[in-house]
Amino acid sequence: MDAATFEYMKKRFEEYYMTATFMMPPAVEQREWGFIFFDPSGEVRMKRHIGFSSKNEVETYMRSMVPRHAYHSTAYYKLPSASTMPEKVWLGADLIFDLDADHIMRGAYDVMLERVKEETYKLLDMLTGELGFIDRDVSIVFSGGRGYHIHVRNLETRQWGSTERRELVDYVCGIGIDPEFMLGKGRDSGWSARYRSAVSEYFDELMKTDRESAVKAVGSIRGVGDPSAGSFVDSLKETSRKVKSTKKDVPVTGTLKKVLEQDGGPLIDKIRERAALTDEPVTTDIKRLIRMPGSLHGGSGFRVVPLTVRDLDNFDPLVDAVVFGESPVRIDLAFSLTMPVLGNKYSLEKGINNVPEALAVFLCARGAARYAGSVR
C-alpha cells in the first residue's frame, strides 16, 4: 500500500473512531489487548500484552492511536499486560466459535457470506437448542471479514481447558462419531437424527445408480471385497429401512461397519453438510486474541458488528457493516470487478474509477486499489 493510500485509510479510520461506540468485553481490566497499526513500511507487527484498567482507557487509546486492527483476549488474566503467558496467570476464558467462510468454501464475497450465515444458524441451533446454552450467554459478532464469531460467556465454561472445549467443538463439527451409538435403539435426536439422515441420503444415492456402479463404489472402500459389496448392495433397501427406524439397535458389523467408517468418501461429506463447520483451533485455544466488537477490520474497512440472533436474520454485511458514506472518491483499481455495496452493484474497470467512499475504503483495505485523490 502506498503512502497516500495509507494516509487516506488512516484518516477514514480516525474519523470513524472519533464517534464510534465499542462493545467492551466483560472484565476489561482482565483482558490482554493487541493492535496492529497503519505501518507505512508495510510490515505487519502486532503490539500486544497491553492492559487497560477501564473502558474509558480503551476508548481513549483507540481514538488517539487509530489502530488498523484491534483485538482483545478471549482469556481473563490476573496480569494481562505481563509479557509472558505464565506471568499473566490465566483465570479463565470465554468460549469462542469462529465461523469463517475461508474454511468452508471459495466464491464471491456476498455468496460466501450467505453460506457462512447458514453455518452460524446451525451452530446457534446446536448450542442453544441441543446443548442447552441460554441465549443470554451467547453473543454473535460479525467479524468484519468473512464470517462470524460466537462468544459464549458463563461461569461454568469459563474455567474449561482445551480438552473440555474440544468436546464441544468436536460435537458441532461432527468429529468422532461412532456409528454404533448413532444407530442405537431409541436414539433420534441431535447427532443421531443427523447421522441417520446422512446415511439414508447416501444409501438412497447408491440405490439410484445401477447395480454395477453401486457395487463398484462399495467395493472400492478399504476392507470391502467385491462379493461382500454385492450382497451389501442387494440388501441395501432393508439396511436403509433399519437405519431410518429407531425401534432397534442397528448392529454395526461386517460390511456395514466398513462402509460407515470409511475414510473420506460421500458419507463424510454428508455429515459435514449437517455439521457447523467452525474453525476448531480457535475454540480449543484458551489464550487467543479476538477482534474487538465495534472496531474496524483493517483488511476490509467493515465494522466488527455485535448482533443479536434476531439481528442476524436481516443482517447484510455489505450494508450493515459499512460505516462510510457515499461521497465520491477517485481510486486506481488493480483489476476489474463487480461488487455490491450499500444496496448498489458496482461494475468497475481496471484503472481510475470514481466510487463511493464506502467502496473506496473496502478496496484500498483489501489492497485491490490505490487512493487517487478526492473528487470535487
Binding site: 503467558m85 458463563n154 461454568e156 473440555e164 468436546e167 461412532d178 451409538f181 441431535g190 476448531e280
Partner: protein, 349 residues
C-alpha cells in the same frame, strides 16, 4: 438422614471428611510420625508405588486397620505432593479412584449413595446437564463418553444405569486430582526425601522398561513429518505442535528432550516452547495424550502412511510395534536424519 459409617467404611473411602476426623481424633500427628520414621509412612510410599505400577489388587486390604489405611492414604498424598510430578500425581488419583470404586461395587446402597453425593453426583440421576458432563468426560477415553456420541435432549445428557460406577470413579479421580498437590513444607519433604527418591527412580526404571531409549527412527511418519517441518522452520499449526509434544511426552521424553526437538527450528523461542511443552505435558493440570489416527486425519496431519500404519489406529501403537520390530531385526538401525522424510506435503504440513 445421615448414614452411619463405621471405621471399616472410612478405610474404604479415606477421602471422606469423616476419615480425617477419625485419624485426628486418634491423636496421630503427621509430623511426629515422620520424625519417628513410623512404618506407616513407608506404607504410604508403598501405596504410591502400587499406584505407579497400576497394581490394582485390593482383595488383601485389611480394613480393620482403619487408622493405618487412612494414614497411608494421607502419606501417599504428602509424598506425591513432595514429588510434584504430574504423571505420578495422576496415577495416584487413578489408583485411589479404582480402590474406592472396588469397594463401592459391593457397597450397601445407602452408603454408596452417600459417597456418590459427597463426590458431587446426584444418586440415581438419569440426566446430567451438558456443561457439567463436559467437565467430567474428557478423562474418560472410550468413544461412548464423547459428547458427540451421547444421547442429548435439550441440554441434558442421558446416563445409563450401567455407566454410573464409571462416572463415580471418574468423579472421585478428578476430585482428588483437584486437591493435589497439597502444600507441604520443605522441611517435611526433605525428611521424606529418601522415600521420594526411591519412588522416582522406580518410576524411571519402569518407563525405561516400557519404552526404553527413545528411538526417533521408530516414530510414525506423521510425527516425523511434523519434526521435519519444525526443522525446516515451517510455521506448524497448533494441532501439529500439540500432537508431537503429547506423543513425545507419552513415550517418556522429558521436557528438556522435547524442547530439544523444537530447538531444531531456526526461529526457536525457548520460553514460549518450554511453556507450551510444560502445559501439554501436564503442568497445567491435565496430562494430554496424542490424538489417535482418526483425529490426526481430521487435522490433516496423517501423511506419508506406510505399511505399519495399516495395522494400527494410534501413533503410539505404531511406535511400540515398530520399535519392537526394529529390535527383533538384527541390530536396530541407528536413528539418523535419513529416517526423516525429505519433504512434508505442503497442503498437510
Amino acid at each position: 438422614m445421615p448414614v452411619e459409617l463405621d471405621k471399616k467404611d472410612l478405610a474404604k473411602y479415606p477421602f471422606l471428611k469423616e476419615a480425617q476426623h477419625l485419624v485426628s481424633a486418634s491423636g496421630y500427628s503427621i509430623d511426629s510420625l515422620i520424625n519417628k520414621k513410623h512404618f506407616i509412612v513407608k506404607k504410604g510410599a508403598e501405596r504410591v508405588e502400587k499406584a505407579i505400577k497400576f497394581d490394582y489388587f485390593f482383595d488383601d486390604i485389611r480394613l480393620e486397620m482403619a487408622e493405618w489405611e487412612i494414614l497411608s492414604y494421607a502419606f501417599a498424598r504428602i509424598l506425591i505432593s513432595c514429588l510434584n510430578e504430574r504423571n505420578l500425581t495422576d496415577r495416584l488419583c487413578r489408583y485411589e479412584a479404582e480402590r474406592a470404586s472396588y469397594f463401592l461395587q459391593t457397597e450397601d446402597p445407602e452408603k454408596k449413595d452417600y459417597v456418590t453425593s459427597i463426590v458431587g453426583i446426584n444418586p440415581g440421576i438419569e440426566e446430567i446437564p451438558v456443561v457439567e458432563y463436559v467437565g467430567l468426560c474428557p478423562a474418560l477415553h472410550d468413544s461412548k463418553w464423547r459428547l458427540i456420541n451421547r444421547d442429548i435432549n435439550s441440554g441434558l445428557v442421558r446416563i445409563e444405569k450401567n455407566e454410573y460406577d464409571e462416572l463415580i470413579k471418574e468423579k472421585i479421580r478428578s476430585m482428588l486430582d483437584d486437591q493435589l498437590p497439597l502444600r507441604v513444607g520443605e522441611g517435611i519433604c526433605s525428611l521424606l526425601s529418601s522415600l521420594t527418591e526411591g519412588i522416582s527412580s522406580g518410576y524411571q526404571e519402569m518407563l525405561m522398561e516400557q519404552f526404553g531409549e527413545v528411538d526417533e527412527g521408530s516414530f510414525p511418519p506423521c510425527m516425523k513429518a511434523i519434526i521435519n517441518a519444525v526443522t525446516d522452520g515451517t510455521n506448524i499449526p497448533h494441532t501439529a505442535r500439540f500432537s508431537l509434544t503429547a506423543f513425545m511426552h507419552i513415550i517418556g521424553m522429558d521436557v528438556h528432550q522435547i524442547v530439544g526437538i523444537y530447538t531444531r527450528a531456526p526461529d526457536f523461542d525457548v520460553e514460549k516452547t518450554m511453556y507450551q511443552v510444560e502445559h501439554i505435558s501436564g503442568r497445567g493440570g491435565t496430562e494430554y495424550t496424542p490424538p489417535a489416527c482418526a483425529t490426526m486425519k481430521t487435522y490433516g496431519l496423517c501423511v506419508n502412511r506406510d505399511s505399519y500404519c495399516k495395522k494400527i489406529s494410534h501413533p503410539l501403537s505404531y511406535y511400540k510395534i515398530k520399535k519392537k520390530m526394529m529390535k527383533g531385526d538384527e541390530a536396530p538401525v541407528p536413528s539418523t536424519k535419513k529416517d526423516i522424510p525429505d519433504k512434508v506435503d505442503e497442503k498437510n504440513p
